[in-house]
Amino acid sequence: MSSSERPARARLQVRVAATFALGALVLAAALALVTYLLAERYLLDQRVRLVTRQTYLDARAARDSLGGGPAGDPAEVLDGLDISDRRQAFIARGRDWYASGLTAGPRVLPRSLRDLVASGESGRQRFSLDGNPAMAVGVPIPAIGGAFYEVFILDELNETLAVIRNSLFAAAATTTIAAAALGTWAARRTLRPVNEVSTAAARIAAGDLQARLESQSDPDLEQVVTSFNSMASALEQRIERDARFVSDVSHELRSPLTTLAASAEVLERSADSLPSRSRDAVELMVGEVARFQQVVQELLELSRAEAEVDPLDLEAVRLGDLVVNVTTRYRADPLVVEISPEVARTALLLDKRRVERVIANLLENAASHGQGATRIAARRDGPLLRIEVDDEGPGVPESERTRVFDRFYRGAKSGDRGADSSTGLGLALVTEHVRVHDGAVWVEPRDGSGARFVVQIPWRPA
């Protein structure tokens, strides 16, 4: 049950975390994009203004130097400028071009800009130069019959923008991861009450009817807690009422049964002097009274075990002796007894009466349904004591392997009892007695044919 719940719970947790993360991602990405665009625009504007002003200043200087007439040498003017590899200046006079560097000619300037400047307008244009972003500014200088251009390579700006971009990306990623973590935490916190409900419900299902939820300070949760706890109380009361009913009925039957049994025995004693029909009737009556007595005794034992009236009465027991005594007491036909040396030499803390009942009932069950037990084995299995009772009967079909431990369960042909003298309570008692030992009992198929009943209880040396 819990295994089918767990993935659903995990999915919900993942979903909440994913929602948080996605929300944070969208928000962070939007903010980063806007920030980036604003930063880019601002930085570009600033750069453009700077570049433009620089060009105008340089252009004015060129005009002043060359304005005196054709004697002025544009190359000298260009030399006087503070030129770097990120910045080049050109002077056009008539058809002649002068450049501040030797590497690049006027061809680097976009034609549209040259056309604009040639028409007497100043202008600027962004373009790509050898794969780098660049900006060209052109200023016509009518006084020299030419124009002044400067080209700036803007890769620094790109680097700055790249740093900003990376920072924003990292920030967005961090935010997303943080949001996912926050979402997981929040989901876990929110789901904790659900988990508690689930755990408590599982405990109730496992038989711990006293499982309750703790009171919560949150009013929303408190409502769940109150409802759950009242449901659990109602369930507990109901189960207790049912159990008490069975126990009360059994108690009420004890006195009449004692009378019946004694009377039947008196009749049985004088059966020889009765007519044969009466003798048959007495025989039937005596047999059924005995069985009736056994049912009542076992019902009482079962209800006492379920109500946990008797504490587990642990004492040092040699299981080997116990098994030998049980087998000699309850059956005569041969049976393989395999007690491992470790089990044989260790005194174990067991409730002798209960273990006796467990083994006796398993032998009885094998006799009624499995043509008699063929082997009984006990050995240590790590932290557990393992007891096996085998038979070579028809085995237990898979669909009935848990139901055989239900009270009054008699297998597929439950209507047809035939000569079956069992009470139908033996295996239910086995379950209860094993359970108070903190153990488990189940049935498995054997190789070939037959059933193997396995009891496992904690290995507790005395």
């Binding site: 004692t258 009378t259 019946l260 049994a261 004492e315 005594n325």
Partner: protein, 220 residues
């Protein structure tokens, strides 16, 4: 037989008379006491659930004056009733519903007078305790101690094997006639009662000692 249920009484009387026993019936504790004084029975069968004086009180009253074997009939086999009944002085118990065979087996076992164990010494002495198995007498500092038959048999069993640990199963088998699966609480309760009668300090016994996980032994 002290039993308030008229029908059970009648049925058990029929069944036990078939076994050759003579029965005196009493429907409640008061009449049970009267009958005990008047008829001096070999064994008293007491239902623990009685109107008026409870079965427990009846056992205690009987024990003040008598060592007669008492077999109690309990409604439940739970620890509390059984132990309380044994503490009140019962020698053994059967749980309702029981078969008459079970009851007669218990009665026979309680009526067995002597331990079947062979040669019994005339007297055994352990510190201030003197046991005379043939006379059925136990003296402490020369004063006779009143033991019930079961207590006496238990003490003799231990006294015949001084220093040897007897398991609860062995004691159950030899004194009560149970097999390996008898109720060990019978032994424990009787040992406790025996100690209060013969030990100097029953809380710290030095005559009948418990050997944990094994059983009991008498220290010579």
């Amino acid at each position: 037989m002290v039993e308030d249920d008229d029908r059970i009484r009648r049925a058990l009387r029929l069944a036990l008379e078939d076994e050759g026993y003579e029965i005196d019936e009493a429907p409640d504790g008061e009449q049970g006491l009267v009958s005990h004084v008047r008829n001096d029975p070999d064994l008293v069968l007491v239902d623990l659930m009685l109107p008026g004086i409870s079965g427990f009180d009846l056992c205690r009253e009987l024990r003040k004056t008598s060592g007669v074997p008492i077999l109690v009939v309990t409604a439940r086999s739970d620890t509390h009733d059984v132990v309380a009944g044994l503490e009140a002085g019962a020698d053994d118990y059967v749980t309702k519903p029981f078969a008459v065979k079970e009851l007669t087996a218990r009665i026979r076992s309680l009526l067995r007078r002597t331990s079947p164990l062979a040669p019994q010494p005339e007297r055994l002495t352990f510190g201030s305790i003197e046991v005379r198995p043939d006379a059925g007498i136990v003296c402490r500092d020369g004063q006779e101690v009143g033991l019930t038959k079961t207590e006496f048999r238990l003490l003799c069993e231990l006294a015949f094997h001084p220093g040897i640990v007897l398991s609860r199963e062995q004691l159950l088998e030899r004194i009560w006639g149970y097999d390996y699966f008898g109720d060990a609480r019978l032994v424990d309760a009787h040992i406790r009662r025996l100690r209060t009668k013969i030990e100097t300090d029953p809380a710290d016994p030095n005559l009948i000692v418990t050997v944990r996980g094994l059983g009991y032994k008498l220290v010579p």
